[in-house]
């Protein structure tokens, strides 16, 4: 088996169509297989590097199946997947995305087909919807902080701590980074959930405004800023990125807020027009199998809905308090956040409170 995977690794030709530009372009990577077992096309927003071990494991399991991996930003992916669904056109056999509200919308519009796999029964009910959409990861929304900058008082452990910190000192002025929720689907989702989860949201954005919060498109940029000290605290950063970065970079620390920690499960569904639904199902089953869980629980820190709670509950803070994990359920309630009128009102409120960043 190891020899086979070696052969496969050699055979997997990366057709990286990396076009110049920061982040807004589509990348197609093809993993050729020696046999003629068909092709599996995955469209995803997840960084390919995170996915490589899973793809290798899959091709070990199905040596004949070639795999094409389309990677794009969530907004672009949503747009092309949505258009393909409307036109009844094939795009991919499996769509995996962290913008779960869009995923729910696509499934709600009838773009998905029944997965019909025994793994559905093992998943908690919040991590699946209609048997068509399933949660694959378990990624908390965390705060990252610069250890050096906050060495004196230690990092905030909850939103209350953060609010207090923002009110008390001018130290955090322009030193807070978070998502630009108008640009980032994930940032909007976390913000929207925050607003419906607790009353701290109002005070939080007021504090953001007062401290001239800096907003960014992506987790990695926020983490970069926190790491080099331009920002002290990054709010609502995707835990998987933060934790794998923190493992490599000891300038930053990760906090799971103890008041509540939102948890996102990247969701995958098999489109109605899938050509190789069987392979897509096998891929989903692999992700949630012991083998897949071992990969996702590893360096990527993506975790799975099955293994995530245990792994995160071990991450107690300095007071020994465990995070209050609040997974965002895959349910049609997420559609509210996508409502045109609702979104417009929410963004207006955001804009009023938060002064646009001056980079």
């Amino acid at each position: 088996m190891t020899r086979l995977s070696a052969v496969l690794a050699a055979a997997s030709v990366a057709l990286a169509l990396n076009l110049p530009g920061a982040h807004a372009e589509e990348t197609v990577t093809r993993f050729e297989a020696p046999g003629d077992g068909g092709e599996l096309v995955i469209a995803s927003v997840t960084d390919l590097d995170f996915m490589r071990p899973l793809i290798a494991a899959f091709q070990e399991l199905r040596p004949g199946v070639s795999l094409t991996y389309i990677e794009d930003t969530s907004n672009n992916l949503d747009a092309i997947v949505s258009r393909a669904c409307d036109e009844g056109r094939f795009l991919a056999d499996l769509v995996i995305s962290s913008s779960i509200a869009q995923q729910v919308r696509l499934v709600n519009s009838g773009c998905a087909r029944e997965i019909d796999s025994p793994v559905l029964a093992t998943l908690p009910s919040w991590a699946q919807w209609r048997g068509e959409l399933i949660g694959l990861t378990y990624e908390p929304a965390v705060m990252v902080y610069n250890k050096a900058a906050l060495a004196k008082d230690g990092p905030p452990h909850s939103r209350f701590d953060l609010i207090d910190l923002m009110r008390q000192s001018g130290e955090l002025n322009t030193r807070i980074a978070t998502y630009d929720i108008e640009d980032s689907g994930l940032g909007y989702l976390f913000a929207f959930q925050d607003s419906s989860e607790a009353s701290t949201w109002g005070r939080l954005i007021e504090g953001f405004g007062r401290n001239s919060v800096a907003t960014f498109c992506c987790s990695s940029e926020i983490i970069d800023r926190v790491a080099d000290g331009r920002a002290y605290i990054g709010y609502n950063v995707l835990g998987s990125y933060a934790r794998s970065r923190a493992a490599r970079d000891d300038r930053i620390g990760v906090v799971l807020p103890t008041d509540y920690t939102l948890v996102l499960a990247r969701a995958g569904y098999i489109p109605r027009e899938a050509r190789n639904a069987e392979a897509a199902r096998a891929f989903l089953e692999l992700v949630l199998s012991p083998r897949g869980r071992a990969i996702l629980d590893g360096d990527t820190h993506l975790l799975t809905p099955l293994s995530g709670p245990d792994a995160l509950n071990r991450m107690t803070d300095s007071d020994g308090e465990a995070p209050a994990l609040r997974p965002i359920p895959l349910s049609p309630a997420l559609l509210v956040s996508l409502d045109r009128a609702k979104r417009a009102r929410f963004l207006t409120q955001w804009r009023k409170s938060v002064t646009p960043p001056t980079p």
Partner: protein, 476 residues
């Protein structure tokens, strides 16, 4: 003789248990089908009502959050509305909010509205299809009366039917389980009850099988009323068998006794004759031997006749016959066997119909003739007539002095012969009496109206039978 054809497996399809089982199963199936149909309709109604409330609730919540701000209609979809709809966890949700001018403010612009015919103001629940799936929708209207915006705001909320059909199926499934359990239980209990109810039959069967073949006493097992007729038929049959067996035993005993005496006498006389030297005495002995032989012959004849008549009394079904024909045949037969040349017939012009056994009646008539010839004085007449009391009589008349009252009294006793007459076997009138009894009649003996002495059978006339008496019927 094999008794296989009478075994219980001969006609399994006619088994009472089988019929009852079949009927019960049929009834239960009908009842179950009716229950299930009711459950199906109830399940659907219940599910529809329950989830229609969710839809209504969600629409109300959305409608409530429509307001006018700065001259513009603002729709703030509440999370709780979707939370409510998410109670049907697996269903897709669609919504659409339409402003007074007909433009879609938010939601799915293409979601269909109810038919115009049904589109009254207020709430309308309707079924339609959207995005490739059947959905249940509610259309609710709210009237805005602000300075800037006036008119109806239409809220449409819809949901696919998965949870509804799941609930309906669950209700039906429970009903099915209930019906199946109840049905199985009922059937089991019914079969048990049937087993218990039919146990007397098995008890009777065992009682009959356990019996000694010679034991012909009535069955004494207690029997339920339904099979009493059957058991009493069995008992009647056994009584008849018992009578037959004992009659046969009596006959064998009688015959042995009756035959032994004359044959012993015959032997003695033959031996005497062999030693007799005197031709005159020898001749006298020879005559006596001949008389004895005739007597034995007649005895044999009558014994067999008696046995036959007795047998027929129990075994033969009675038929509709003309007594005149019996007389004619008896006379002809008597003439053929000899000694009856002098018998005359006295028959009425009209048929005399009785129900009876032609053979037995003919034997009786022949014995009447023989009796008259043996004991009375010629001329002998065999007559048939209908009496004033609507009975039929067949009788032999002779011109002799007749029998003494003591003799008349003894008619019917076997071997009540005249000791002085060695030719008489004493069975003739016993046969007649037996036949009379078997035909619900009686032996009549006495002076005849025409003079002379008469012995005969008086028996009931046949009740009005078929219009024209058939001659073929009794031409045996």
């Amino acid at each position: 003789m094999s008794d296989a054809p009478f075994g219980p497996q001969a006609f399994p399809s006619r088994s009472i248990a089988w019929r009852l089982t079949l009927l019960l199963t049929l009834l239960l199936t009908i009842a179950a089908a009716a229950t299930l149909a009711a459950a199906l309709s109830y399940g659907q109604t219940a599910a529809t009502r329950a989830f229609d409330r969710l839809l209504t609730g969600a629409a109300l919540q959305i409608a409530e959050r429509i307001s006018v701000e700065d001259g513009e209609t603002v729709v703030d979809i509440p999370l709780s509305a979707f939370g409510l709809l998410s109670l049907a966890a697996e269903d897709r949700i669609f919504y659409r909010v339409i402003g007074p001018d007909g433009s879609t403010l938010t939601g799915d612009e293409s979601f269909p509205l109810p038919d115009r015919a049904k589109a009254q103001s207020g709430s309308v629940l309707y079924d339609t299809t959207f995005s490739g799936e059947p959905v249940r929708a509610i259309r609710m209207q709210r009237f805005l009366a602000e300075r800037a915006v006036r008119g109806p705001i239409t809220v449409v909320v819809a949901q696919t039917l998965r949870a509804r059909s799941e609930l309906a199926n669950e209700i039906v499934a429970r009903a099915v389980i209930g019906v199946v359990i109840a049905g199985a239980l009922t059937l089991t209990l019914a079969l048990l009850a049937m087993y218990l109810a039919l146990s007397p039959l098995r008890r009777i069967e065992r009682a009959i099988l356990a019996r000694d073949p010679l034991d012909l006493t009535p069955l004494s097992t207690t029997t339920p009323r339904e099979v009493e007729a059957l058991v009493s038929a069995i008992n009647r049959f056994m009584a008849r068998l018992d009578r037959r067996v004992s009659a046969m035993q009596d006959f064998v005993a009688d015959a042995a006794h009756q035959m032994r005496t004359p044959i012993t006498a015959l032997r003695a006389q033959t031996e005497l004759a062999m030693e007799e030297e005197d031709p005159r005495k020898l001749r006298a002995l020879q005559r006596r031997i001949r008389d004895r032989a005739i007597g034995v012959s007649r005895l044999t004849d009558q014994l067999l006749s008696h046995a036959l008549v007795t047998h027929r009394a129990d075994a033969v079904t009675l038929e509709w016959l003309d007594l005149r024909r019996v007389a004619v045949e008896a006379e002809r037969e008597a003439r053929r066997t000899g000694g009856a040349e002098a018998v005359a017939l006295d028959l009425p012009a009209d048929p005399v119909m009785v129900t009876g056994d032609a053979f037995s009646l003919r034997e009786a008539a022949r014995n009447l003739i023989t009796n008259a010839l043996a004991h009375g004085k010629p001329p002998v007449t065999l007559g048939v007539r209908v009496t004033a009391a609507e009975t039929a009589v067949i009788a032999a008349r002779d011109c002799g002095p007749g029998m003494s009252p003591r003799q008349i009294e003894r008619i019917g006793e076997r071997f009540a012969r005249d000791a002085s007459n060695p030719q008489s076997a004493g069975l003739g009138l016993a046969i007649v009496a037996e036949v009379a009894e078997f035909h619900q009649g009686a032996v009549r003996a006495g002076a005849a109206a025409e003079g002379g002495f008469e012995v005969g059978i008086e028996m009931p006339l046949a009740p009005a039978g078929p219009a024209a008496p058939s001659d073929k019927g009794d031409a045996s």
